[in-house]
Amino acid sequence: MTDMTVKGAALAAAAAGDFSELPIHNPSVECASRERIRAIQLAGLIEQVAWTYERVPWYRARMDEQGVSPADIRTLEDVRKLPFTDKSVLRDTFPYGLFAVSLDEVVELHASSGTTGKPIVVGYNAHDMDLWADCIMRLVQMAGVVPGDRAQMAFGYGMFTGGFGLHYGLQKLGCMMIPAGSGNTERHIAMIEDYGTTVLVATPSYALHMCEVGEQMGFDWKASTLRVGLFGGEPCPPGLKAEIEGRMHIVCTDNYGLTEVMGPGVSGECLASRDMQHIAEDHFLWEVVDPDTGEPVPDGEEGELVLTPLGKQAIPVLRYRTHDLTRVTCEPCACGRTHARMRKVRSRSDDMLIIRGTNVFPSQVEDVLAGIEGVAPHYRIVVDTARGLDRMTVHAELKPEAFSDSFQQMEALRRLVEERLKGVLLVGARVKLVEPGGIERTTGKARHVEDRRKPSA
């Protein structure tokens, strides 16, 4: 754990390597043997495929085409016989085409932000809401959240799954919810002070913004009641998390999830292995495949994560292609849980940029910036073309303390960033230094990349 003031005995023990004082929500499942987990998954898969085949015409048609019936699912590996589901399917069947239950039974709708065209809409029945809350209760306890904690929500509520998803789970656990919602940073900070907030739910970039605003207001983070940050909504690079932990004096974890398979809570970080997240394996069957061929990659190697929710009733997607790149290990974890751990998603296969024939991931840019003193780990990448060639420009935020009254020194810093980027990306990028605070902090998915190139014909 990073250098910080850890508040509370359980977190202090965890910081010292003893995780026994941290709660585990459902030990009989979360700490079950691998054999038992596989048995739970197989039973869940068989039931899920039957449920889906019987109730969703789209899947029945695909499975019939491929000559596979629910009776063909006898082992976990048989999942490979099933068709993949891509995001486009949810878009094409908008709004209710994939629903497996009567709308009378649906108790809540959510939708993804929908950057292109129509949004993706998903529904939940009461059973799904329980399942979702179960996932949330697990991951918040991994961070040491306990009943009685006071949790302040800085996600927007609305159609985004993050707000209500965390809200219901935390409330069900027995936390006092403070549904502040997104925006109005000064008010957020005042509420922490007034209500004795102990847990903050936010995107990491918004948490950092709160931290900066609080510091400017003279708010004493170290003395505040806040002790845990629950992050989501966007990937959280390790450097950024360490910075927030150090400056806000809290322990932060982030979770992974996506609207199409449920929302937040598919997997969550435990304090024993901080670059990994435990997948709720009884609720989600995972596969890691080659993004190009769809074939499984060897155990432990990187590939695209494919998820099949187990027991989810209202929208039962099969083999959802996440486009998120990760690797998964089933090795035991020091926290005591046996559920598989996925390496945190740093890049999506569809986030990848191809610059003059070279693959570039925004996470690489993030890594380079995190390693340079004079710039903040916020960035924006703009790609356009100049004389027919791709041109990449990285906007990096100058740290106030790195400013000097000398163009030579500013240019030296700028060139240092350029050189380091070139070393890692293997393709040249122009660096523009921008003012502190000049990169937008988002409350939803951070928009790091702007590709202005015309789509090729």
Binding site: E212, Q216, P400, F407, E411, E435, G437
Partner: protein
């Protein structure tokens, strides 16, 4: 004798300098001279003001990248050949002027590497150095502008 200079990092985009000036105005900081230079993407804007500490606090409150430093300030007579004469004195004393810009009326600010040494060298030269106080006074009194 020297004066304080505030430097601030600004992107070369419409409205960025104005934001700083608006904040100065609100804090009743009066700009007595400034220079804005750029690299195309960003620039360093240097200010000499009547209340440098307050100006710096304003910028820090805004979260801006800003610094405070010292420069020499010389009062020139408004007559032909005066700038050449003063720069000649600098050259004769072996003082390298890294950059220089003019302030209100015939004051010029000069950035040099070693202010203390420059002051010593210039003490016996026909050059009138001024301090912060001289800049706080309204122009009319020093220059005899005859309005009201």
């Amino acid at each position: 004798m020297s004066v304080r200079q505030i430097s601030v990092f600004l992107e070369s985009r419409p409205g960025h300098l104005r934001r700083v000036l608006d904040a100065f105005e609100e804090a009743q900081v009066s700009v007595r001279g400034y220079s804005a230079s750029d690299t195309g993407d960003y620039g360093i804007v240097r200010f000499i003001v009547d209340a440098p500490e307050r100006a710096l606090a304003v910028l820090r409150d805004m979260g801006a990248a800003a610094r405070i430093g010292d420069v020499l300030c010389v009062r020139l007579n408004d007559e032909p050949g005066e700038l050449a004469r003063v720069m000649g004195v600098m050259a004769d004393c072996g003082i390298n002027v890294t950059y220089s810009y003019s302030l209100i009326s015939t004051y010029i600010a000069l950035s040099v590497e070693d202010i203390g040494r420059a002051e010593e060298l210039l003490a016996s030269e026909p050059v009138e150095l001024v301090g912060q106080d001289a800049l706080a006074a309204p122009l009319a009194r020093n220059e005899g502008r005859r309005d009201a």
